[in-house]
């Protein structure tokens, strides 16, 4: 069948950094897939059926079988399609480091970011302080490396790269400069942005800012 897409479909939402991780991974592996934008205010039957536990995107469907949770999807893509490039390194200790940092991003960044964007006053200042700590920790972990794993773009980079599109939004709400606080992280973000897989799959930072402004208006947060 012409244009056969190896039976891959991605249920996603355009601005979701979690969905973008999957798009980046699929692009890195050169895997064609069908992108299915979801209406999160009116969830489709397909989404509800594919992720009955959480009813959230992203969901990867492979031959109709669903894989849920973005980092689980990325690992699945790496393991089910083992041809190069490998998203995780071969050495188990290096793999453990990559998984640790991906898990760190997962546990810390989005929730702290959400608080930074939604809250005001003292709670927002608290979130701002936490965000700076998270970014500095990531900057430190990166060190002078090209990517988190060293020379090769990999799992931890995929986990974090989508959030680079949120830096502008975090900066404006927190009144800080990521470049000033974490120059190595910003340089890393530029290197990621030079990769086609990232450049083609991240929205412009201004669009993310507009989206957040729109959401705040909708929920009456000023």
């Amino acid at each position: 069948m012409a244009g056969e897409k190896k039976g891959l479909q991605l249920l996603d939402f355009w601005v979701s950094p979690f969905g973008q991780r999957c798009r980046i991974a699929l692009a890195e592996k050169g895997l064609p897939y069908e992108y299915l934008e979801q209406d999160l205010r009116n969830k489709s039957e397909l989404l509800r059926r594919s992720n009955p536990v959480h009813k959230k995107i992203p969901v990867l469907l492979h031959g109709g079988r669903p894989v849920c949770e973005s980092l689980i999807i990325v690992q699945y893509i790496d393991e089910a399609f083992p041809a190069e490039p490998g998203l995780l390194p071969a050495d188990p200790y290096a793999r453990a480091q990559a998984r640790f940092w991906a898990d760190y991003v997962d546990k810390k960044l989005y929730d702290c970011g959400t608080r930074l964007l939604k809250l005001k006053g003292e709670p927002q200042q608290q979130a701002r302080a936490e965000m700076l700590e998270i970014l500095r920790t990531l900057d430190g972990a990166l060190g002078d490396g090209k990517f988190f794993g060293g020379e090769a773009f990999g799992f931890a980079d995929v986990a974090l790269a989508p959030f680079t599109a949120w830096f502008l939004t975090y900066e404006r709400h927190g009144e800080f400069s990521v470049e000033k606080e974490c120059p190595r992280l910003v340089a890393w973000a530029k290197r990621c942005g030079e990769r086609e897989s990232v450049a083609k799959n991240l929205p412009p930072p201004e669009k993310v800012y507009e989206f957040v402004a729109g959401m705040k208006k909708r929920f009456g947060i000023e």
């Binding site: 894989v67 689980i72 699945y76 393991e79 188990p92 640790f100 898990d103």
Partner: protein, 232 residues
Amino acid sequence: MAGGGDLKVLGVWTSPFVIRVRIVLNLKGLAYEYAEEDLGNKSALLLGSNPVNKTVPVLLHGGRPVNESQVIIQYIDEVWAGSGPAVLPRDPYERAVARFWAAYVDDKVGSAWTGMLFRCRNEEERAAAVARADEALRTLEGALGECSGGEKPFFGGDGIELVDVVLGGYLGWFAAIDRIIGRKLIDPARTPLLAAWEQRFRAADAARGVVPDDVDKVLAFLQTLLAIGSNK
């Protein structure tokens, strides 16, 4: 026994995250040195090995630290792929399903667990956390049923695997919570498959001596943890 004096675990005896790592080491037949940490006075080794999160468990392999329990488990499974049973399935799709349920356990059961014991400021909040635990356990009952049509003894099938050890690590605490709330969280009447699973899991060689079974001791330990928490 494999391991060769090369493995050390920094832990706390009641931690679900530590217990699961120790069970996996047992499953793999690996010898290791265990060091109990005082969470009110963390060792230099712990703080140096896990500077980012400063938590247990830490696995030291030839002195190199591996942190985060599910990361540690996958590391052990990969390094000692030849020894003992596989802790994660080999098939990529089955691995994704196992990882999904392991993440679910720590997300839903884990947050309810902290809610039931450490974060509640009154009985109302505790009850709300218990309700969340009930819901998570109901979902896991369904998952266990689906896993093997209710025919196999463990989430992993015939043997203990990732989801089993991740959930199993909470059992010592569940028994203590049962005493606090006056009924069983894993109740044979509500979640029969899980109740049967619990008996089998507790009886497994790899779990014995590692899953706490003295409720009084666990409850006494809870008081020390709460005291540490309030002194932060």
